[in-house]
Amino acid sequence: MAPSAKRNNTWALLGASPAGKGVVLFSLLLAVMIGFTNGAGSLFNVLVTGGMWALLAVGLALVFGVMNIPTFAHGESFMVGAYVGFYVFNPMQNYLLDHPNPTLMLLAPLLACLGATLAGAVLGVLTERLAVAPLRRRTKEGWIMNTFLLTAGISFIMINGATIVMGANFKGIPRYYDFHPVEILGIRMSVDRLVALGIAVLIIAALVWFMKWTRTGRAIRAVSQDEMGAQMVGINLNFIHTLTYALATAMAAAAGAALLFMFQAYPTVGHDPNYYAWFVIMLVGFGNIYGAVVGGFIVALLQAATQTYIGIQWADVVPTAVMILILILVPSGIFGSVVKGVHEQS
């Protein structure tokens, strides 16, 4: 009795419709199939990519749920993270070549991620204060569409600004850790990927803990449920908005740094992460944070299935086909949209 009750709770947390359950079961089936075709090692890669998409999508869902902003500039936070990660890690690596130091060698990639996260947070605060907050002060009319376009403009500026400042060439590293791949249960896992997955899991867990158990996290949830009510009980709305936005950009930047060995830093590197994060959000339903975590892995599986069975050149076409099905069958997403507020108005 107890396990089934627990399972029901999990579904409730996701807000799963029958479609959601179906898609999850189908994804598990897909995972087994991919595991048989490509070996279990590819499933590990799916897990890593999925963790990263989840990290990005959670940020999108958070910003949409709390502030009703459909951020289009999420990929550019990823881009900034990748650049910062590169410029933090690269000097340290050069230094290590001359002065071997095991502790620093272990810490350097983590420091790169930390630096990127901080830079992402600063970026978020700046964007929110300089662009979003002035718009909010002026008008809330057509808020969702306006902020979508506003962030699209920001993304446009940042991509082209990065081209001017950084140049159009790739800045990447072959790997973070120069170790042999670890073998667990007969699956070879590169240390970099393990660390990236660990970072994703850690950050998402920290976010969930923060949202559930801290005063500020509760305040964020209160704002997402009812802005006016939150204001009445003395929550500083401006602070919560800035914090939420900064959290999202920081998470995206952390993902950018953690995946530097897969995605080299260049001006338009954010396109794919942004696209897949949006795919996750459309798939699971707007503003559904827990759904976004599961959705990240579903999308990564779908990507792997596309590569394995259809061909990598169709990677841009398959998500749209899936989205068309979703829009026809369950337009509010497989786990259901949980957004209140302006979303209902326009």
Binding site: P70, A131, P134, L135, R138, T139, G142, I144, M145, N146, F148, L149, L150, A152, G153, I154, F156, I157, I159, N160, G161, T163, I164, A168, Y275, W278, F279, M282, F286, Q313, W314, A315, D316, V317, P319, T320, A321, M323, I324, L327, I328, P331, H343, Q345, S346
Partner: protein, 339 residues
């Protein structure tokens, strides 16, 4: 620019019906005559006017959707590209590709418009019963998918290396193209203006301003939105056909990328959303300025940064755009002179 006031002449009023003021007509005539007026009669200027008119016409079609029903077609560039590719494919004579009907580009451009219109219709049916953001994001997704198709269907489009569509005219002069694009701009502007001034336009505006109130007063939102999307996409595809047969080269990235949509978006919004003519007024100087910046600044992409900054400033601080400035001048400054 054109609410026919009392006491104005019949001509002005009937011009107003199609969205022109005497000033607008004068400026348009200037564009038509520019290849014959001495300082402007060089190929460089003519080329600039062509590109300006191409952007202006796109901005009008874009504004028809974004400014009126408040749904932003984020895959607009891909729809333009669909028209361009369709037209190029139907006009293709090269035996190197599997499909080579070799129709005249003058026929192809219409097929392109038709296919783009159908695309808009399908996209509209799919997304427009939902809230606007679904349409915007889905349109972006479809845009990326269309670009993926253009890249991968190599037997049809030659993939990323691009097609070389036949041009409209054999001569290398730009002047015939100028008249084609100006005519297209005129047709698009006038027909969309007539549409927005009819009861259909009223319904569009009502939905854009307050969706729920519009539904409550008996407007079927999906039908009007799909109509709007279809018309806008059709004109977008039509313009794409012009692009293909003017430049004579076509790659997925040069026409279908999302950044192209953002350029049009910036022009339309700086011009003033919901005005239609604002985009035209902004497009010509913007294209010229941006071309200057691109060729003289030595910083690739600087012009796009400026586009983006202007877009954001207009969105936050002056959502009415250039059209708003004109309205303000008309209200405040002209009466002072009339006294």
């Amino acid at each position: 620019m054109s609410n026919g006031d009392k006491g104005q002449g019949v001509i002005t009023r009937s011009l107003g019906q199609v969205g022109f003021t005497p000033l607008g007509v004068a400026l348009f005539v200037l564009l038509v005559l520019c290849p014959f007026i001495p300082p402007f009669n060089n190929e460089y200027i003519v080329r600039w006017v062509i590109v300006g008119a191409y952007f202006a016409a796109q901005a009008v079609a874009f504004d028809f959707t974004a400014g009126f029903i408040n749904v932003v077609p984020f895959g607009f560039a891909a729809i333009v590209g669909t028209g361009a590719y369709t037209s190029a494919i139907f006009a293709n004579q090269s035996l190197g590709l599997a499909f080579h009907p070799g129709l005249s580009p003058w026929v192809g451009i219409w097929i392109g418009a038709l296919v783009a219109g159908l695309m808009g219709f399908g996209l509209g049916i799919l997304t427009l019963r939902l809230r606007g953001i679904f349409a915007a994001v889905m349109s972006w997704f479809v845009g990326i998918a269309l670009m993926g198709l253009a890249r991968n269907l190599t037997w049809l489009t030659r993939g990323p290396s691009g097609m070389a569509p036949v041009t409209f005219f054999k001569s290398t002069s730009n002047i015939p193209y100028l008249y084609v694009i100006l005519a297209m701009l005129l047709v698009i502007y006038v027909s969309l203006n007539l549409m927005t001034k009819s009861h259909i336009g009223l319904a569009f505006r009502a939905m854009g301003q307050n969706y729920d109130a519009a539904c409550a007063s008996g407007i079927n939102p999906t039908r009007y939105r799909v109509l709007n999307f279809t018309v806008s996409s059709m004109f977008a595809g039509w313009l794409g056909g012009f692009y293909a047969h003017y430049l004579g080269s076509l790659t997925p990235d040069s026409i279908m990328d999302t950044s192209k949509t953002i350029e049009i978006l910036a022009i339309a919004y700086i011009g003033g959303r919901g005005s239609l003519w604002g985009g035209i007024v902004v497009a010509f100087p913007m294209v010229f300025l941006m071309e200057l910046i691109r060729s003289h600044s030595g910083m690739p992409g600087l012009q796009f940064v400026i586009y983006g900054v202007l877009l954001i400033l207009v969105m936050i601080y002056y959502p009415l755009g250039i059209a708003g400035v004109f309205q303000w001048m008309k209200k405040r400054i002209l009466p002072a002179f009339a006294r």
